[in-house]
């Protein structure tokens, strides 16, 4: 029977017309069409247009007469690398990432492991720690700007209680960026915490219990059971947080306007500024370098954290896309 079918199929050059298959194909594209049109126009198109624009001297005036735009090759990118301000904002962005990701991960992991051990009020803490995540960065920046005030801010008042004369957080070139990072940790750790809690829930209790029977203490169980089992989740959390932090902008816009002395100006801020000056081609090039960093970060973190992970639970492309 199977052989006969195979022979019969082999004999016909094209598949026999199946009305269900054709109906499905038509329906599939009909359902996909509205999304695809919007997606091509407002996402995929602009991603490519931005790349194209980065090789030109497109300026604001050229919106009316796009034919005047000159192809300039890689010169926007060459100028960016030479631009001391772009170097500074790149450094600021990297610093924000390098400070922010570990701190956010640590806070989120501590909160998740702590909440996971509770037998009461789990939901209360989870919801409370998640609150800042849903709020507007602009709004919390307005609030934190006042918390950070030199005189009369809540932080320096609290420091005053223990006899410390608090600094002018946002007006100090060394403290401004870490101050923004601190707020970002406060706002974002809840998002990671929820992801880590989901990861912790997948660790079979028996493994931890077996380690306990073997005499492993609380720290050993965390270090040698929980952390390795959580590796894929940690990796994912690091990537997601890193991608977000590479794009920081709103907190700097509201709290410091990029100052003092550009100490908190980010790559996104730089792009926004260049856009404001009308240098669209230059802005597009800067944004593409940021995009490159996002792609690179994703890749590097997967290599670094993923490679040492030899367990079969590792997520593969097939699992995701199938």
């Amino acid at each position: 029977m199977a052989t006969a079918t195979a022979v019969a199929k082999g004999g016909t050059p094209s598949r026999p017309v199946d009305p269900t298959r054709r109906a499905q194909a038509v329906a599939g594209w009909v359902l996909a069409l509205p999304f695809v049109v919007l997606f091509l126009a407002f996402t995929a198109g602009p991603v490519l247009a931005s790349l194209g624009m980065s090789f030109t001297d497109f300026r604001r005036a050229d919106i009316r007469s796009p034919l005047a735009v000159q192809f300039v090759g890689l010169s926007n990118y060459a100028d960016l690398i030479q631009d001391p301000l772009f170097r500074k904002v790149t450094l600021n962005t990297l610093l924000y990432l390098l400070l922010g990701v570990p701190l956010t991960m640590a806070a989120a992991l501590a909160a998740a492991v702590g909440i996971n051990r509770l037998n009461r009020f789990k939901g209360l803490f989870r919801v409370a720690f998640y609150l800042p995540v849903v709020t507007s960065i602009v709004a919390v920046s307005v609030v934190w700007k006042f918390l950070y005030r030199h005189h009369g801010g809540l932080f320096n008042t609290a420091l005053g209680w223990v006899g410390i004369d608090g600094p002018n957080w946002l007006d100090n070139t060394h403290l401004a960026l870490p101050s923004l990072v601190l707020m970002a940790v406060w706002r974002n750790f809840g998002a990671l915490m929820v992801i880590f809690l989901a990861g912790l829930a997948t660790i079979p209790r028996e493994i931890s219990e077996a380690a306990e029977v073997d005499g492993a203490g609380g720290w050993s169980r965390f270090r040698y059971v929980t952390l390795p089992m959580l590796r894929p989740t940690l990796l994912f959390g690091a990537v997601i947080t890193g991608i977000g932090y590479l794009q920081f902008f709103e907190e700097a816009f509201v709290m410091t306007q990029g100052g003092p002395l550009d100490a908190t100006r980010s790559v996104t801020y730089f792009t926004y500024d260049q856009f404001g000056f009308g240098n669209f081609g230059y802005a597009a090039a800067a944004s593409y370098l940021l995009f490159l960093a996002v792609v690179l970060l994703t890749y590097v973190q997967f290599r670094w954290l993923g490679e040492r992970d030899d367990r079969p639970r590792r997520r593969t492309r097939q699992e995701v896309t199938s």
Partner: protein
């Protein structure tokens, strides 16, 4: 790029179980082991997380002189509504509120409709180009908004839509996140329903709209809430497109006030922050179950 997506099992909602219903056997086995210090530490964390919001709310009811006082008061000594009065009568906050609501609702509706359509097609239908389409959509999931806003601005200006609400809405009407979320959910629905409907002679589109879509309630709720929140808090694009005050959304207005001529009116700005934050916190507290479910389902906020 597709690698960053987690393959989180759609059925794994263990993290979502509230403690009241979540009394499973393994919790009970653990019940003697929660040390008291853990509650203390977590409570300190809770205070740190909540105090900025409480202080924001309390200070928004203080007169300007009290907001500026050194040392600052925590509880208002004089309670006044003057900050809110200024926002809504002297400044144009009703307009910003209206703009924010209209944009967020339109964006939410668009994503719920278009993403569920494509999500269903990708999950349950067989059509040429399906795999490539899914790969392309997923590939853009991590594209930063800053990468597209310059050409988008040129395009929207060409379409005569800059400084209009439509210009704020259109680019966000259909996003890759929603497709991913809906597809993941619909994959878990049984194929037998579709086959039975086909045997009964229902057309493919009818199967989607009458049989499958009504079953997508939980995923649609999650998508709707998350999209609404994202749109409500969206900043860079509205900042670029809204050029006159009557097109500002709330975050744009608040940010520009806080760096502009109202930068020193602390009480006023804190009241503005309350207007931006409070609706979102209320939505979250009422519907947090759906939000947590969405995160458990996709791993992405």
């Amino acid at each position: 790029m597709t690698d960053v997506l987690p393959a989180r099992p759609t059925t794994d909602l263990t993290a979502d179980e509230p403690p009241v219903t979540g009394r499973r056997p393994r919790d009970r086995g653990d019940s003697t082991r929660t040390p008291a210090w853990l509650y203390v530490v977590l409570t300190v964390g809770l205070v740190v997380v909540v105090v900025p919001f409480v202080w924001m709310l309390l200070s928004s009811f203080k007169p300007e002189a009290e907001v500026r006082a050194t040392p600052p008061s925590f509880w208002p000594e004089t309670v006044t509504l003057s900050n809110y009065d200024t926002l809504f009568t002297r400044l144009d906050f009703p307009t910003y509120l209206f703009n924010s609501v209209v944009v967020a609702l339109a964006v939410t509706a668009g994503n719920m409709i278009f993403c569920s359509m494509l999500g269903y097609a990708l999950a349950k239908l067989d059509f040429p180009g399906k795999k490539a389409l899914f790969a392309v959509v997923l590939g853009t999931l991590m594209v930063p908004g800053v990468v597209t806003f310059v050409p988008l601005f040129v395009m929207v200006t060409k379409m005569q839509l800059s400084n209009s609400l439509l210009g704020l809405i259109l680019p966000f009407l259909a996003g890759p996140f929603g497709v991913f979320l809906m597809r993941q959910y619909i994959l878990s629905l049984p194929d037998e329903l579709i086959q039975a409907a086909r045997i009964d002679g229902a057309g493919e589109l009818r199967i989607f709209f009458s049989v499958m879509l009504p079953l997508c309630g939980p995923a649609l709720a999650t998508l709707g809430i998350l999209t609404f929140l994202a749109s409500w808090n969206n900043f860079l694009w509205p900042l670029v497109v809204a050029q006159t005050e009557d097109k500002y959304t709330l975050p744009v207005a608040l940010a520009l006030y806080s760096v502009g001529q109202n930068a020193t009116q602390f009480g006023l700005l804190l009241a503005g922050a309350v207007v931006v934050v409070l609706p979102v916190l209320a939505i979250f507290l009422v519907l947090q179950r759906h939000i947590m479910q969405g995160i458990a389902m996709t791993g992405i906020k």
